[in-house]
């Protein structure tokens, strides 16, 4: 067992079952000291379950955990923290109303006389640590004033303050901008230098290649491969993840038809706020995909909501749908006249947590004549039959209409929503971040479905922060920045870097900073 000692962490033959489904099947993981270890896999492959077992949220059915060669039992997160394991969740565990200092101290106060927090020594300890790890904080600022990247840095610092040796980062880059990702990678580099081990869960393979030393690939609850980064490639990892070669779908030529949606001088300014959308002009024709690129937080969610009728007050300008002015139409009216909407935030908008698949599969279309008898009683046989065929057609697993939508993996939830919206036979589809937090296999599937909607002559607006997605799908694309359409992208000429410069407000903005 001497080899065990070289590893900061070793998990051996972990098994975990939820109900009838196996979440971890004989999973083993070895993390070396001072190394960055990525765990990649599709949604539902068992990555999250594995680290939740490590962090004491779940108890493994069988299997052993060794830390620095010693066998340990972890029954709750307190014990995990005691063993030097720290975790930064996808959704931050910060108290927004409190200061940075209090958030760091929370759960691990230094006490004077056993009851009073010794702020003086806490501050000096934090300052020393911050210097050592190259963090800068204004300790007395409130957390709610921080940006996403700073919040994440604070979360990481919290774990350092608690003397973490093994840091788990769950999808750390999914909420960050390009610049913030760079900063994060710098921090991870510093942690590595200090001899800490970092476990990153992700499905962004480019980032894995950039930052990690070792990678473990999971598929269907099992480990399918362990690789050193220097001996592998994105293509190999992607292939291992989905278990098949990914073929980039080629776009067919479709001749765009008449304009379906015309947006003229659209401005949105809520009360006591700056303009969130500023003089936007767009045309979307039948059979074309118009893309909107931009760094998140530049008016994309507002554009999405204004076009779908979810925001009414504070909107100025002309919206014409098939030649008809729709600026006064409600969301319900728009939906019944052929608007579909795949929203950017599916957890907030697209389904009801407490409901099962067939109930969620008619959301937004529940008033349709075919689902109702005499327009107020549901026709359940029709609804359930439709839901079943939807789940099959869009390959949602498990394809059970009575399965809770909340319990589906992110990719399967999104396939259900994409299916519901595309199958409503719309003329205009507003799509925002369709593959956010979705595994590679589902991304391919969803992209294929969007392209076949285009082929069927739908007019599609695609708002996305993934340039590769827009490059692959869109016919024409525009850059949005601070609520304005600032430029059109020329996919032949522009490379990612020059588009990136447009997205942050052009070359001038860079000089200013």
């Amino acid at each position: 067992m001497s080899e065990l000692r070289d590893y900061a962490l070793k998990m051996n033959n972990i098994n975990k079952k939820f109900g009838d489904s196996l979440a971890n099947n004989q999973v083993s993981l070895c993390v070396e000291k001072g190394k960055i270890h990525a765990i990649v896999g599709e949604n539902g492959a068992g990555k999250s379950t594995l680290v939740k077992i490590l962090y004491g949220y779940h108890k493994a059915d069988s299997g052993d955990i060794y830390i620095n060669g010693n066998k340990v039992a972890i029954n709750n997160s307190e014990q995990a923290i005691g063993y030097g394991i720290g975790m930064v969740h996808q959704h931050f565990m910060l108290i927004e109303a409190m200061t940075i200092l209090d958030n760091i101290v929370l759960g691990n106060p230094l006490l004077k006389l056993g009851m009073v927090i010794d702020y003086k020594s806490v501050r000096s300890k934090i300052n020393a640590l911050a210097k050592e790890y190259n963090f800068t904080f204004q300790l007395d600022d409130k957390v709610d004033a921080l940006g996403v990247g700073s919040k994440q840095r604070l979360e990481i610092f919290k774990t350092i303050y608690r003397k973490t040796d093994i840091l788990i980062l769950d999808e750390p880059t999914s909420v960050l901008t390009k610049v913030e990702i760079k900063d994060l990678f710098k921090i991870i580099g510093i942690l590595k230098k200090q001899g800490k081990s970092v476990i990153i869960i992700t499905h962004k393979l480019g980032e894995v290649m950039e930052i990690a030393d070792n990678v473990t690939v999971m598929r269907d609850a099992k480990v399918v491969a362990n690789r050193e980064i220097k001996n592998t490639s994105i293509a190999e990892l992607a292939g291992l993840m989905v278990g098949r070669e990914i073929i980039a779908s080629r776009k067919e030529e479709v001749i765009a038809g008449d304009d379906v949606l015309v947006v003229e001088n659209l401005t949105y300014q809520p009360q006591k706020s700056k303009k969130l959308l500023d003089n936007i002009n767009l045309r979307i024709a039948k059979g074309e995909i118009v893309g909107i690129a931009g760094v998140s937080g530049n008016g994309q969610p507002e554009l999405e909501q204004v076009l779908t009728g979810m925001i009414k007050t504070g909107v100025k300008g002309k919206l014409r749908y098939r030649g008809v002015n729709i600026s006064q139409k409600t969301t319900a009216e728009l939906r019944s006249s052929g608007l579909a909407h795949i929203p950017s935030d599916r957890n907030k908008w697209a389904y009801i947590n407490e409901w099962v698949n067939y109930q969620n599969s008619i959301l937004g279309y529940h008033a349709k004549r075919k689902y109702n008898i005499a327009s107020c009683w549901f026709n359940f046989p029709v609804i359930k039959k439709m839901a079943k065929s939807l789940l099959d057609k869009y390959k949602v697993t498990p394809p059970s209409i009575n399965y809770s939508t909340k319990s589906l993996s992110g990719g399967n939830q999104q396939k259900l929503i994409v299916g519901r919206e595309l199958d409503s036979n719309p003329d205009l589809i507003i799509i925002a971040e369709p593959t956010h937090g979705v595994d590679i296999g589902s991304v391919e599937f969803i992209h294929g479905k969007i392209l076949s909607a285009r082929k069927a002559g739908k007019a599609i607006l695609l708002i996305s922060s993934e340039l590769s997605e827009l490059r692959k799908l869109s016919d024409r694309s525009f850059v949005i920045c601070e609520g304005k359409i600032v430029d059109e992208i020329n996919w032949q000429k522009d490379d990612d870097q020059s588009i990136g410069i447009k997205m942050i407000g052009g070359a001038n903005a860079i000089k200013r900073n």
């Binding site: 779908t308 009728g309 979810m310 409600t330 969301t331 319900a332 009216e333 728009l334 939906r335 909407h341 929203p343 907030k348 908008w349 697209a350 389904y351 009801i352 947590n353 407490e354 109930q359 959301l363 937004g364 529940h366 008033a367 689902y371 109702n372 327009s375 107020c376 009683w377 549901f378 009575n402 809770s404």
Partner: protein, 349 residues
């Protein structure tokens, strides 16, 4: 039965068992045998036709207020105002039917039922409207409207509508044609002294209607969407403001229907301060019944049993008083509110 509802049932039963266990310990400390006490509860409320009749009698208003609270829950609101709503409904019926007006029963009874629903409904709609219009919280507004309803009803029953020539604070007796029948007319085993009446049948049919509304109808679906999340409602094109107002109107109306039980079926008058917290007990019933009509029925029945049984505690036990039932109900509410803990226990099995 689905796995989900099985686990809900198991959770609820577990919290009930725990509650009765804790109650038993309390009874032991007080120096009586808990088995004997629970036996009295059960014998008194179930082992005779009159016992069952009284249990159903006590159950009826709890079932109505439980449905009322639950209806508001479904719309995403917390209705603490059932007490005020039931007073307003009852006062409206007492004034109308006690005014000397005389209509045939087939007009009088439907009018009175409608009036009870409407008066309670208006009292419920006010906080709903204020919430939609100004965003003011319904909990505060329903509590305040309770106090206003007490004030109004107190004033009316002490002042302008007090029955003359009597010490008791009651309104004039309502017209014969406004009185609903007692169940002993159709179930001969129940004796005439048991006041359980037509209101029970009305309430049970409302339970069925409640289930039907949320399981079969589009409007029930839309109300649930709006109750679960106003953001999802906005996305799906559902006007959640309309459903907040509708659910509070129906909730208020259901509480107002206590008038049918109390004024039209039992006392035939508005008796000052008659409710003594039935509206608040409705919150416990809805909580224990998990917003499911069958669950609410069973919870209301259980509370009805305890109310009936409590009358026999003084007589049978030296060291206990009738107020014991308040303790037991309190413990049950406590455990029902802690159901998250029991759910974890059930899930881990």
């Amino acid at each position: 039965m689905s796995k989900e509802s099985l686990s809900v049932l198991a959770t609820t039963l577990l919290s009930l068992v725990a509650a009765f266990f804790v109650s038993a310990v309390i009874i032991l400390i007080l120096g009586e045998n808990p088995v004997e006490v629970f036996k009295v509860f059960i014998v008194a409320s179930l082992f005779s036709w009159d016992g069952v009749g009284f249990t159903l009698f006590y159950m009826t208003p709890l079932l109505l207020t439980g449905l009322s609270v639950s209806m508001a829950f479904k719309g995403g609101l917390f209705n603490i105002g059932a007490e005020g709503q039931l007073y307003m409904g009852s006062m409206a019926v007492a004034i109308f039917a006690g005014s000397g007006i005389n209509l045939p029963f087939y007009l009088m009874i439907p009018i009175c039922i409608l009036l009870a629903f409407l008066a309670g409904g208006i009292w419920g709609v006010i906080p709903g409207y204020l919430k939609v219009k100004f965003g003011s919280h319904e909990v505060i507004n329903t509590i305040m409207l309770n106090l206003i309803a007490y004030g109004i009803c107190n004033y009316l029953v002490v002042g302008p509508f007090k029955r003359q020539g009597d010490q008791i604070l009651e309104t004039e007796f309502i017209a014969q044609s406004a009185r609903v029948f007692r169940l002993n007319k159709i179930i001969p085993w129940i004796s005439e002294s048991v006041p359980v009446n037509f209101a029970l049948l009305l309430t049970i049919s409302l339970c069925v209607g409640y289930w039907y509304f949320f399981h079969k109808m589009r409007y029930g679906y839309e109300m649930q969407v709006s109750g679960h999340s106003s953001e999802v409602a906005r996305y799906a094109g559902i006007n959640s403001g309309r459903y907040i107002i509708l659910s509070m109107f129906i909730a208020g109306g259901l509480a107002g229907l206590v008038a049918v039980h109390e004024v039209m079926g039992f006392r035939y008058t508005f008796h000052d301060n008659f409710s003594r917290g039935v509206g608040f007990m409705g919150i416990a019933v809805a909580l224990l019944g998990r917003n499911n009509p069958l669950g609410i029925f069973m919870a209301a029945f259980l509370f009805g049993m305890m109310n009936r049984g409590s009358l026999f505690i003084d007589i049978n036990f030296d060291k206990l008083s009738n107020d014991l039932v308040i303790v037991v109900q309190g413990v049950i509410i406590l455990f029902a509110a802690m159901s998250g803990m029991f759910q974890k226990l059930v899930r881990s099995k």
